[in-house]
């Protein structure tokens, strides 16, 4: 069952960049893309660098997949699936995210 939690306002997000939110004790990296107004929420933890830094990575697309690039050792993670492009055996948690009026909501319970 979906449990949406209010995280912050849309105005708190950084356009075409990321922020980190604390949701139920989990560190969640949230990215906000304009002009499409698309949001992505993934774990903030980089399993290669062993540090909570992914919200501070650059975002872009590689062959049409939206990705974040870890600032530590430059691994790419697919923002929709959490799969690492350099090593597809590594998959980081991805969370459902939605915009509700001016608010941003994340569901960390439903992480696959």
């Amino acid at each position: 069952m979906a449990e949406w939690q209010d995280v912050c306002g849309i105005a708190d997000l950084q356009t075409n960049s990321g922020v980190c939110a604390l949701v139920d004790g989990q560190q969640v990296a949230i990215f906000f893309l304009l002009p499409a107004q698309t949001c992505y929420a993934i774990s903030n933890f980089d399993p290669f660098g062993n540090a909570n830094v992914l919200s501070r990575g650059l975002i872009g697309d590689i062959n049409g997949q939206p990705v974040v690039v870890s600032p530590l050792y430059k691994h790419h993670f697919n923002l929709q699936t959490g799969v690492c492009l350099e090593d597809d055996s590594i998959k980081i948690p991805v969370y459902p995210i939605r915009l509700n009026q001016t608010r941003v909501e994340v569901n960390v319970r439903e992480a696959p």
Binding site: C8, T15, N50, R56, G60, L72
Partner: protein, 845 residues
């Protein structure tokens, strides 16, 4: 256990050293204990470029020996010790210092000595020769008290020596016995053109002069008296009238020598004793002494091959030469004097531009036999290829030397060259070798040079090498893809120009006009960087925010645990006690790990993202500015203490370093840029390992460019000498802007320059001679950057809205629980995995 045989090399000049480097690169390097005698106090150096000693190159820079070469390869070198006798029966060599070495194989690379004609008075004070660094030092000493210098000998070496006298500030004469200059290489018209050009440079040339006596002068130390009754007053008489082989060792042990000297060798460079080889200028092959370095190198390689049991022969060498004598291009190929039976001659003379060209072709006009070029040697490579490879000439051979005023190219297509064609004669690299390297994946000019060594000697073949590369890549069906990434089908340089021409101010605008998709971690920082160097906007402005890597977006350097390090600018490394205390107080308050950097400043580690603004507030209040350690931009200008304190200091290196650092701080560039300024040639600031290095001399500042440390260290190249401060700064402005405009992303100045067609000379022509007519623009652009400088941290802490990002969580004041420190040597560092489990954790403020 096997006992190694001993290989002894007598002489560590250019050829002796080339033999050693070829040997240690060969399959037989482990078969021998290698021992070498070097009579001079220093190991091999570049005698070809000896005159550069006076235009600022040091003895170290002229060295041909990589640091640690002898140690690394286990070669025993007896420096400053001369081999005196060879006992061929016992196979031993005894040196002047009494060292006795038993050899299994012996290589004589004893070189030559300058011929001094037995003119009465030739041993008077001020009578010198030009061969070793010690000779140069004697010249420099004599030049201190003298005003006039005279070179005896108007050949290739003589004119080199004349340049050295000019560089020493002497009024210079050249006295030649033959009726023209460079009589061996040039015909009469070529020699006359060269004379005219050289005399315009202020030298006085006397041809057809036979010196009969040197005696006391009236105004000068010496007076030269000529057979025709004329006289010339001069302080220095510099003999450069040819060389003689040093064959006395061979002569004394009974090896066969030529009638006029020289150790007789066969096609394998063996002497009359099968255990002894001779190479270089001491060797006589087929009645010829080769006074050039390339044939000596070729002999050295022949001996290595022979020792390895490979079939190899030295069968003579091409004596073609191309050189720049005091800025005048001179080249001579093959049979320049048309001595071949039936040879036909074409010549072209342009009295206005002072260009002379002559072609010597075979009777049937199909083969090129020789050529002379004075004033413009640009056709040298093509002509040499025709000559060496016997390529059939076009129907009208004179087209090869006539100026072509249309776009029609008359050059030889590189595709026509056979695989055996020699591209680089310094390192004997054939077109075949270049092609194999290209096939093996070395597909940039820089990589190709590093792999094949082609174009790394005199550099004369670099344009040819580039043509071969382009042609081969096209042939192999490589589409040379220089696209920045999948979002932009352009190079960085293209994008720079597009941004400049269309006056584009944001990434979104550029992407819409010239790109596709959303961008990536390659194009975003690249474009962010170009926009920053061109417009110099505040990089955290909304449209630029998502472009920069995390270091730039948080204006600090991310460390392994996600915390940051902070580096305030300390221009020139000069810091007052109060400022130092201020840094210390910040470090103490925030419990930061503190370390001195290699760039003479202080790095503070372990700051959480939320601590960055308060830390910077305190630093700025204390008078600091951002150090841009996080950006692709100017890092530091390192300096030694200079003339204000040092008893050797020649100029104020700290003062200049501070001025330069303040001038260029904040400049965004393709990669980081480092400077250093040394106050004298002792070079304590290590300026020659920097992108821009400056060294004070008594004649002004010497400017070095394109050096770097790091994984592949590179010594900087001497760019200009004796500059006043204004000229120095003008050159640096132009150099840096040109780099910012034209380099690839993440390309340091060294690689940028190495990949540039024409290399250092081209760079000089753009920056110093303004070949592209760009200098004014380049300076203006730099001034705009300097005028719009802002301390990014000052702007950031003054803008409340920018500070919102400097917290770990957008919705909580908690900090990252993964950041854990432990104590080591009285300071903090990130805990490793084990410590996270087992050790008591230190609480952080």
């Amino acid at each position: 256990m096997t006992t190694k045989k001993t290989l002894l090399v007598i002489g560590n000049g250019m050829v002796g050293q080339h033999f050693l480097t070829s040997l240690v690169a060969s399959s037989i390097k482990d078969d021998y204990e290698i021992v070498t005698f070097c009579e001079e106090p220093r190991a091999a150096y570049d005698r070809v470029h000896l005159s550069e000693f006076f235009s600022g190159k040091s003895a170290e820079e002229l060295s041909l020996v990589e640091p640690g070469f002898f140690e690394q390869h286990g070669i025993v070198i007896h420096l400053g010790d001369k081999a005196e006798t060879i006992d061929r029966q016992a196979k031993t060599v005894v040196s002047a210092k009494g060292v006795t070495i038993h050899y299994d194989k012996l290589v004589l690379a004893t070189g030559s000595y300058p011929f001094v004609p037995p003119v009465p008075g030739h041993e008077r004070p001020g009578c010198l020769v030009y061969r070793t660094i010690e000779d140069l030092e004697a010249m420099a000493a004599a030049a201190k008290t003298g005003k006039i210098g005279t070179v005896v000998g108007g050949g290739l070496l003589g004119l080199e020596a004349a340049k050295a006298l000019v560089d020493l500030g002497l009024k210079t004469h050249v006295v030649e016995f033959a009726p023209r200059l460079m009589a061996v290489q040039l015909d009469e018209a070529g020699g006359a053109m060269l004379r005219q050009k050289i005399e315009e440079l202020g030298l006085i040339v006397h041809t057809g002069k036979n010196t009969s006596l040197i005696t006391d002068g009236e105004q000068c130390v010496n007076k030269m008296c000529f057979a025709d009754g004329e006289e010339l007053e001069t302080d220095i008489v510099l003999f450069s009238a040819g060389i003689r082989p040093r064959d006395e060792l061979a002569r004394n042990c009974g090896l066969e020598v030529g009638q006029r000297g020289g150790i007789v060798i066969d096609n394998q460079c063996r002497t009359s004793d099968q255990s002894i080889y001779a190479i270089g200028e001491c060797a006589l092959w087929n009645g010829m002494i080769y006074g050039l370095v390339a044939p000596g190198y070729s002999m050295a390689r022949t001996v290595v091959a022979d020792l390895a049991g490979d079939l190899a022969s030295f069968t003579g060498a091409d004596m073609s030469t191309k050189l720049k004598l005091m800025g005048v291009d001179v080249a001579s190929i093959g049979d320049a004097h048309a001595k071949t039976q039936g040879a036909k001659v074409y010549s072209y003379q342009n009295g206005d531009n002072q260009i002379y060209k002559r072609l010597v072709v075979s009777q049937d006009k199909k083969q090129l036999l020789g050529a002379v070029l004075v004033g413009d040697a640009s056709g040298y490579s093509t002509l040499l290829q025709y000559c060496l490879n016997g390529i059939e000439l076009p129907e009208n051979p004179d087209a090869l030397i006539l100026p072509h005023r249309s776009d029609e190219s008359v050059g030889l297509g590189v595709d026509a060259l056979p695989a055996s064609a020699q591209i680089c004669s310094c390192y004997a690299v054939t077109k075949g070798a270049v092609c194999s390297a290209i096939e093996a994946g070395f597909t940039s000019l820089g990589a190709l040079k590093a792999e094949t060594k082609a174009a790394t000697g005199c550099g004369g073949c670099s344009a040819l090498l580039k043509s071969v590369m382009d042609c081969e890549l096209a042939k192999q069906g490589f589409e040379v893809n220089t696209h920045l990434c999948e979002h932009f089908a352009y190079t960085r340089q293209d994008l720079y120009n597009l941004i400049m021409v269309d006056q584009i101010r944001t990434f979104a605008e550029l992407l819409e006009k010239y790109g596709k998709g959303n961008g990536c971690e390659i194009c975003k920082p690249t474009v962010g960087n170009i926009l920053a160097s061109y417009w110099n906007d505040y990089i955290l402005e909304q449209p630029h925010l998502g472009l920069q890597d995390t270091n730039d977006t948080f204006l600090a350097n991310m460390q392994k645990d996600g915390t940051y390090s902070v580096v305030p600018r300390i221009p020139g490394g000069e810091i007052s006690p109060d400022m130092l205390i201020a840094i210390g107080q910040v470090g103490k308050k925030y419990k930061l790990y503190t370390k001195i950097t290699g760039g003479q400043r202080v790095d503070l580690f372990g700051a959480r993202v939320d601590q960055l603004p308060p830390i910077w507030k305190e630093l700025i209040d204390a008078g600091f500015e951002s150090g841009h350690a996080y950006g692709k931009s100017l890092r530091t200008v390192k300096s030694c203490v200079g003339s204000s304190w040092c008893r050797y200091g020649v100029d104020d290196s700290v003062g200049l370093a501070i001025e330069l650092e303040n001038r260029y701080k904040g400049l965004r560039s393709p990669h980081k840029i480092k400077f250093a300024v040394s106050g004298c040639t002792r070079e304590c600031a290590e300026a020659q390992s920097k992108d821009v290095g400056i060294i004070a001399t008594e004649n002004g500042w010497n400017l070095y460019v394109c050096g770097n440390g790091g994984m592949k260290p590179r010594h900087a190249d001497l760019f200009a000498t004796g500059l006043d401060k204004e000229t120095l700064i003008r050159y640096i402005d132009r150099f840096l802007t040109f780099y910012v405009r034209t380099a690839d992303r993440l390309q340091r100045t060294s690689v940028w320059m190495e990949n540039m067609e024409g290399g250092l000379d081209y760079l000089k022509s753009v920056v110093i001679e303004d070949k592209l007519g760009l200098c004014n623009q380049l300076e203006q652009q730099m001034l705009q950057v300097i005028d719009t400088y802002q301390c990014e941290w000052k702007t950031t802490i003054e803008d409340e809205s920018k500070l919102k990002r400097f917290r770990h969580f957008i919705n909580s004041d908690q900090t990252d629980d993964k950041v854990i420190f432990v104590e080591e040597r009285g300071q903090l560092r990130p805990a490793d995995d084990d410590e996270r489990k087992h050790f008591k954790l230190v609480e952080v403020a």
